[in-house]
């Protein structure tokens, strides 16, 4: 066992006995490695030092506060959702991505009729045809429509 592996197990051992053969392997390593024994003492000493924090004392009875908050409905949205119960980081990211996709897709669907209107519709086509028909008699374009229509008959195209 290497010192690196041993030090990972030292942390785990502070919380309780090691499973399987890890405990025996660690003991054998510690028997022969002064540095790891020193590290073990250091970690265990720091963990024991947490006793200095003491006990937080009895929890105050705030039931009236809590019941009042529930009655007021001060957090009305918690009936539907609360981030306290939301999934972890990845889940929240997927939820947010879904909201963006739905929002963007909805925007496109709503705006689609407006976008399509850039193409000339029947009103524009009629206006163009009517305008062409109103050309003055000396315009080079006069008669072109009849010329095109005649050629179309010869070719058999509508």
């Amino acid at each position: 066992m290497t010192c690196r592996s041993a030090r990972k197990l030292l942390s785990r051992r502070i919380s309780g006995p090691l499973p399987g053969g890890d405990g025996a392997a660690l003991e054998r390593h510690l028997a022969s490695c002064t540095e790891c024994r020193r590290e073990q003492a250091r970690l265990e000493g720091a963990w024991r030092a947490l006793d200095a924090l003491g006990a937080p004392g009895a929890a105050p009875d705030d039931w009236d506060r809590i019941e009042g908050a529930l009655d007021r409905g001060s957090r009305w949205w918690e009936g539907a959702w609360t981030w306290d119960l939301a999934p972890g980081g990845a889940g929240r990211a997927w939820v947010l991505a879904g909201m963006i996709v739905i929002g963007a897709g909805g925007g496109v669907l709503i705006s689609r009729p407006l976008l399509v209107r850039t193409q000339p519709g029947p009103v524009e086509a009629r206006a163009f045809a009517e305008t062409l028909g109103d050309l003055p008699w000396d315009s080079p374009a006069v008669g072109l429509d009849r010329a095109f229509a005649g050629r179309a008959r010869e070719e058999g195209t509508p």
Binding site: K8, S11, R12, I14, S15, G16, R42, L43, G45, A46, W47, A49, L50, A52, L53, G54, A55, P56, G57, A58, A59, P60, D61, D62, W63, R65, I66, E67, A69, L70, S74, R75, E78, G79, T82, W83, D84, L85, P87, G88
Partner: protein, 206 residues
């Protein structure tokens, strides 16, 4: 309702596999039906855990009380939708941890010059002389500072392991992560605590 009645729920007449063995699941079921007595019973049973965890994490009694209120309000607001697929305590721990971490994130600029709870500053004082008491207070301050310097998830892992005695699997459930992540969190936290506190103890001894 007396505190004794609040702690001891009446046996349920509904035969639900698994739930009758867990009184908390029975109480949550009743709470989902609007039983205020069940709400209060759950609060009495679990307020110490929620408060103690929040106080140790936030090092602020007032903030811890607010967190505890938020936890139980969220709990009871979702009682109707609660499904006893898992253990109730794991569910409660998850809410408590999330709320503590969110509170810390939102109060990141709040100065924590020490706990407002005198109980946290009071260590079992067996030292007869002022010098020993001073040394003990300084040690407590150093330890509190070292814990406060840990990143949120390392700090909560330390609290749940050291003071609540939770297993790695239970901590993983509370933090919504894998057991190997918990191992990593505690490994790094213990290293940091040892780096800081060994320096403190070395100054005193040297």
């Amino acid at each position: 309702m007396t505190s004794r009645e609040a702690r001891e729920p009446e046996p349920s007449n509904q035969a639900r596999p698994g739930s009758l063995r867990d009184p908390d699941a029975v109480l949550m079921s009743r709470a989902g039906e609007g039983d205020r007595g069940a709400w209060q019973a759950l609060y009495v049973r679990h307020r110490q855990f929620v408060y103690a965890t929040a106080v140790r994490f936030l090092d602020d009694e007032a903030a811890a009380r607010d967190v505890a209120q938020d936890v139980f309000v969220a709990l009871f607001s979702h009682a109707r939708a609660y499904r006893s697929a898992g253990k109730f305590q794991a569910f409660l721990r998850r809410i408590t941890v999330n709320r503590c971490i969110n509170e810390r994130a939102s109060a990141r600029n709040r100065r924590t010059s020490g706990s407002a709870d005198p109980a946290l500053d009071t260590v079992a004082d067996h030292a007869p002389d002022p010098e020993a008491r001073l040394e003990r207070d300084q040690t407590a301050a150093a330890v509190r500072s070292a814990v406060a310097a840990l990143p949120a998830r390392q700090r909560i892992a330390v609290i749940l392991s050291r003071f609540e005695g939770l297993s790695y699997e239970e901590i993983a459930q509370a933090l919504d992560c894998s057991v190997s992540s918990v191992e990593s969190l505690l490994f790094r936290a213990r290293q940091k605590l040892a780096d800081v506190l060994s320096g403190v103890r070395g100054d005193r001894e040297g």
